[in-house]
Symmetry: C2
Subunit: 174 residues, 2 copies
DNA sequence: GGACTATGGTTAGAGTTCTAACCATTAATT
DNA sequence: AATTAATGGTTAGAACTCTAACCATAGTCC
């Protein structure tokens, strides 16, 4: 097995400027670090919420419905940032689990409103503490100031990327 | 449609301590911010690499093979942090695209080594600048010091979560 | 040496998400 | 009013990822 030591890169990569070749190490890429972080977060949270029958796929939609109950399926898609087919299956799943219902609109027969059941609504008080707990564990050892900085920097790069994708792709983030 | 204004939360959620109820807003959760960031990053990068026929699924494995060529499939799984069935399909895909080959081990007939083709290896010089570009766009407007801080904080929370998941789950991050 | 156990890889089936194509309903235009 | 546009939702098919079950090979232990 060929294991190049740090800095032992093929000639055409060595020829690249240092600002580029640092990315040969994934740990130097923000994308990689975000991915690892997200996966860890998602896993930890799902382990907790699954005890109440809530999967990570349902979670994002449930959270949005707590903020705004009764949107159309299209509106829900936009708020959550997912494409419509994704919303279809997520809502199917919420309905199947008894957390939400589909309610056909009366003034426009194309539209369907998604509404929480009492069960779905009641879960907020149960599940929010779990998010808090996972956030706490993730930030253990950081000061409040550092956490605030992290939030600010993350929001900044997310803003940058939303802007890039909007002007270039002209479309939502898949 | 019911749109609760900020702070207009159901009684059982209002009853929660403030440290918990802040998470009613996704923008206050690190997990949400990581997820958005990762998705933006992944989308931007894939738009570029796909012009060379490299998908985001292949990307992570390719990057690891650039660091260490010829691992067994099991070793590759561990390095990349994916489960074995995931590696099977990823390697299938790399082989199909002519970027890597499966090479049965001679000393242990259970093992299979994964080795880059010249094409797969040559892509490093082409694709690394793309990662650099996406990182640059994502961090536009941040100082070098802020970027360094972001990397440090992300590595810190990733370390925390790896530790949590190791001791509690006893298993890899899905 | 033959029966357990461990290791490496694969297959089967599921969940989450996407794009593309489609159908139903409403709005706009001529 | 009839045709065309736009809007809301669904279905079909794919990519990526997982868990669980499985097969093949190698190592261990009586």
């Amino acid at each position: 097995m060929t294991v190049p030591v740090d800095g032992h890169l093929p000639p055409e990569v060595q020829a690249l400027p240092l600002e580029i070749s640092v990315y040969a190490q994934p740990e130097n890429s923000i994308g990689y670090l975000l991915r690892m972080g997200f996966r860890g977060f998602s896993t930890m949270l799902e382990r907790k919420t699954s005890t109440h029958g809530v999967s990570s796929g349902q979670w994002r939609f449930l959270r949005q419905l707590w903020i705004e109950d009764g949107p159309t399926q299209r509106e829900l898609s936009v708020r959550v940032g997912m494409r419509e087919p994704t919303t279809v299956v997520a809502v199917n799943s919420l309905v199947k689990s008894g957390l939400a219902v589909r309610e056909p609109s009366v003034e426009d027969r194309r539209k369907v409103h998604i509404r929480l059941t009492p069960l779905g609504r009641s879960l907020q008080a149960t599940l929010l503490p779990m998010v808090a707990d996972v956030n706490d564990r993730a930030t253990k050892g950081l000061t409040k100031a550092e956490i605030a900085t992290l939030l600010r920097l993350l929001r900044h790069i997310n803003g940058n990327m939303a802007q890039e994708l909007e002007q270039i792709g002209g479309d939502a983030v898949p």
